[in-house]
Symmetry: C2
Subunit: 252 residues, 2 copies
């Protein structure tokens, strides 16, 4: 597993370097449904490069990726879950606050996860048998603060709808922040900047955070309070395991 | 004016260095009204240091600061407007995404402004007779994009209330971002990351952005569409001057 983990770090860092080099390319931007749900040729290129690298080295493994969503069951065999650019809108508009995400599962068990904040050049990596690091700095286990001393990650739309009671929860805290990349926001939970992050997202957005978080004392649950399905789109929240019960008290 | 401008840069950078050195101090946190409106001893210390430095060198000038709000009229004499820590909650909770803000006026005319993103070590400075820079990099004049290609800075509370029609405006764009520091968010407008930033804030939060923005083709207006009063708290927006008319069409 050590080899696979080192290999994963290498290809994720290379993907980030590729994106930095192509940051000012002319982008071919497509709408995937709504005009705010965008994809570029670079999302596809990075997905293809990562897929090719993985399958050349591990030909029996399988890939679940944002840009090739086959909806594989994660419970069987070796599955790599890829989001080539998490925060594509930020990538297009801000040229910052986007991430490469990768998670690796064997028979449904998360073995390691990686969140690479490309412009900040911060790689959050570990989980499973591996300690969790931000670059070379070991991250300590969760030390949860009270809600009144904390910020949470939540976008304005979910807050305005009070989706699953998230605004009621947010109103118990110092406020919300929204940077437009679920992966980076989940990483900010792992470093203690945010108490929790809730997003309406797909498995490739939350798989890495789930594996990394579990190692440090966080749990990723749906805002209905259930295990995420790792299939389709759901509203999920990463929060300190020992705070989940209190938070559920505010959710509907 | 060149001397004064160089002096302003020096004391703002020193204030940021001081805050980085004291980032992990035990904080004495006071609530200024609501439990989410916080101030620490370091806000006060930085305000005092900046005030002392300025008045030692320019004893006839006056100070308008967040932590000494005398509500001076900006229209008379030489007035320095200071926010020692913009984004105090971020300073306390996240240890990132806070700024030192400084603006200088003579008889009501903005001469220069400074926004120092302390952890990113990015100083946005200029305005009046000075070109606008991010550190040593000259910032180009505004090149506004369409609303449908843009992000705006807006917090979840203002969005949820549709305050002055801001949600109606936001819904024309790719979405909202909220990082919890008006100063840094205004700076993201100046660099083109955000099309506009709207906040319910005080003069010390928007004075520097107003001066910097004017130099690059942006205007700071209230969300009622008026000139800001530079007195008391108002909902203001920094946006490209040539976009103001279109944006006003969505505001109430």
């Amino acid at each position: 597993m050590e080899d696979k983990y080192q290999f994963a770090q290498k290809i994720v860092l290379e993907a980030g370097e590729f994106l930095r080099q192509h940051l000012h390319d002319d982008l071919e931007i497509e709408e995937k449904g709504h005009f705010t749900d965008l994809v570029t040729q670079l999302d596809k290129t990075v997905q293809e490069c990562l897929t090719k690298s993985i399958l050349e080295r591990y030909p029996k493994d399988r890939i679940l990726g944002e840009e090739s969503p086959e909806h594989l069951p994660l419970g069987q065999g070796n599955v790599w879950v890829i989001d080539p650019i998490d925060g594509t809108t930020n990538f297009i508009v801000q040229k910052a606050d986007f991430a490469v995400l990768l998670a690796y599962f064997e028979n449904g068990v998360g073995k390691f996860g990686l969140i690479y904040d490309v412009i900040a050049d911060k790689l959050y990596h570990g989980g499973g048998d591996f300690p969790v690091y931000e670059n070379e700095q070991l991250l300590p286990p969760v030390e949860p603060k009270s809600l009144k001393e904390s910020l949470i990650g939540l976008n304005a739309g979910l807050y305005a709808q009070n989706y699953d009671g998230l605004a009621d929860f947010a109103d118990q805290t110092l406020g919300t922040r929204s940077i437009g990349s679920a992966g980076i926001s989940f990483a900010h939970v792992l470093t203690g900047r945010l108490l929790a992050q809730a997003s309406y997202v797909y498995p490739w957005d939350y798989a890495a955070a789930s594996i990394l978080g579990e190692k440090l004392g966080y749990t990723l649950v749906t805002t209905k309070g259930e295990q995420p399905a790792f299939y389709g789109r759901e509203c999920v929240m990463l929060a300190p395991t020992e705070k989940i019960r209190e938070i559920k008290g505010y959710l509907q």
